[in-house]
Amino acid sequence: MVHHIVGAVFVLIGALFLFLGALGIVRMPDLYNRMQTGTKATTLGNVLTMLGLGIMHPAWLLKLTLIALFVLFTNPISSHALARAAHRVGVPMTPLTVKDTLKDKKPVVKEAEV
């Protein structure tokens, strides 16, 4: 019975991190900063939730581990693809930005309304 409670607490912490990720994409000023919180907080939230579920029900641990690994591997890739495409079409950065070396290297291709 104890492992049920421990696992549920892990799930709860994971859900809190997921919530923080969502809060981050609302609060952050521009797309790239949103992506930072949207990638990191949700990744740890996913892994913690899967870990907690695995503690609660050890028979499912293999499949839960697969899901967690899947998130861990694909999440950076999709956010990298989004960030690259956004920079390519010239999504503006926040005025707080101090430096943009990519702009000097690869100028923005088009100002599409993406």
Partner: protein
């Protein structure tokens, strides 16, 4: 036919993945999984794998790969508390910017691993790779020059990845 060794290597992990996903060891499942694994490996040309990927089983590389896992887990936890602190703080302490760093890794898989690791760790997000330079969005720019940024972001991972994929 020069892809044949890669295809043969790719069949093994794909078959193991099938077994893990179905979660059963019935003979029928095993045969079906084998057929699907061969088909996928042939269609993909054994793509992410190559004969070089067998080198991971050399003891030194394997030990470094094992040591990389706890290092990565610790980095992810630090990253998340860092991000959580920035999100909750009423006046968000951010100083974003895109900086360039250099990498010494040569293989595509090694660079992929480096880029993914950078994305998962504190305040950094890989935006683009051009040649041996990575353009990284940093949520709090501490060093604007290439050398400082490389020292701060890349070198911790490169120590491990150079041995694993080098």
């Amino acid at each position: 036919m020069q892809r044949l060794p890669s295809i043969l290597i790719a069949i093994g992990p794909l078959w193991l993945l099938w077994i893990a996903l179905t979660g059963s060891t019935d003979p029928e499942e095993l045969v079906a999984g084998g057929i699907v694994a061969v088909l996928v490996a042939v269609l993909a040309g054994g793509e992410p794998f190559s004969p070089a990927s067998l080198k991971i089983f050399q003891p030194r590389r394997f030990a470094y790969a094992l040591a990389y896992i706890p290092y990565m887990i610790w980095a992810i936890i630090v990253a998340n508390f860092d991000v959580a602190r920035r999100v909750i703080a009423p006046k968000m302490p951010i100083r974003p910017g895109i900086v360039t760093v250099k990498t010494k890794l040569k293989t595509p898989v090694g660079r992929l691993a480096l880029a993914n690791s950078i994305t998962l760790t504190p305040g950094t997000l890989t935006v683009d790779i051009c040649g041996d330079e990575l353009c990284i969005h940093w949520i709090y720019v501490a060093h604007e020059d290439i050398e400082g940024a490389t020292r701060e972001i890349v070198e911790g991972f490169e120590k491990y990845l150079e041995v694993i994929f080098g």
